[in-house]
Symmetry: D2
Subunit: 135 residues, 4 copies
């Protein structure tokens, strides 16, 4: 059976978009992970701050890695995000994923996203379906 | 006072990330818009399908354009997305935004995202705060 | 195989709380239903308007009836509600449930709640898991 | 200026529905509260377990009390709840509200609901608008 780090290694290797975002995997364990990335000029919206899609994508990758880490393949059912504080160009974002529930078929995670001042910039909730396929 | 098309023109012009996504504005009116983009190889996740962040970003741009179209600047309070059907490389996504409620300070939108077969691939709900700043 | 009306009849008969709410089933068909109830003094919160739990409960019953109507037993995964307009004592609420998606294991519904002036007072989204048990 | 306990005392006194639910206020402080209630036969749905509306209502009261405790009147913008574990008749539910963010106009709370075995039965997220009216 593969370890969380091996699974996320496999996922990240082929994940073109997470690589485009410049995501680094800072920590990974069963049901949890910490990811970070830096906001570039290309990631900005018309207000000159990070597009909501950037923080969402970072959180969604954290959800995928944390939920798949147990060895069963998981697919997203429902996700939500609250953008709490504007993210500036050059900000270094850190996403920390926490497992709220791990049931037989359903699991739930919260992802908190912080900037380099450790301010909470977004809060993401994700629910996944745990398929029977294994890594 | 600016028209919806003028406002979205201003927003889109400076929106580096929406431009990176290749978003085209197909229709825009008071409280509604239709956007589309094509899924490239860079937008894929480790499963070889579109990263959830792509469909979210397209929807989030639709939310921003539809809500700002009335002339008051709006900021996102809460957004959620359900990924209903896997999005394949090369798929042409179309996001259609509908206004559910427009209150004095709060407005709500649904964005439905379809592929080129007109299948619903995602459903997004967004709530915005209507600031007193105008375009 | 039981019809939608038979299934909802069975559900409603044993549903003590929906009966306490005074819910009447106005219409029921595959994947959809319309319910109504009247807001009593007991249902009010400290502001003298309907407690959020009342509109939620009406919507949640609509979700249960609409999703179970197909004959497979369904359990709620995730629900959200936006309270759009204050509900007054004596108001007659009508909840209309619409099926957004019916997959093999997951189904999604929107419930719109109106008052007697046909104003939208709440909007509810619900996602259910379709179990293998049948009615 | 009123204390959190005074404000919640005023709210609870007039809150007919929270009283019908038998809610007791176990703890209250700035931005947080703990409430409990016991599930009666009248609160059950057609499956013989607590109707989703009961856990939601308990959580929604917790949101109202926690958010109003600062002295500014708050109104709900968006709430969601995941029903994680079935609630049985006779269960004693405890709802614990935590403040995630308190901004000038927007505040966010999580409410965790436990049964008497300290198992998480539901998780609720609520976002409120902080009006200029004070208690």
């Amino acid at each position: 059976m593969k370890t969380p780090a091996e699974i996320v290694g496999l996922m990240m290797e082929k994940d073109a978009y997470s690589n485009w975002l410049g995501i680094s995997v800072d920590a990974i364990d069963f049901g949890t992970c910490t990811l970070s990335c830096t906001v570039t000029e290309t990631m900005l919206n018309g207000f000159g701050i990070a597009h909501g899609g950037i923080t969402y994508a970072l959180s969604d990758s954290a959800l995928a890695f944390a939920s798949n880490s147990h060895g069963q393949q998981c697919v997203s059912i429902e996700t939500s995000i609250a953008h709490i504080k504007a993210v500036q160009p050059g900000d270094r974002l850190k996403a920390v994923s926490t497992e709220i529930q791990k049931g037989k078929t359903i699991a739930r995670y919260v992802v908190d996203v912080f900037n380099q001042q450790k301010e909470l910039v977004a809060r993401f909730n994700g629910t996944v379906f745990r398929t029977e396929k294994t890594w």
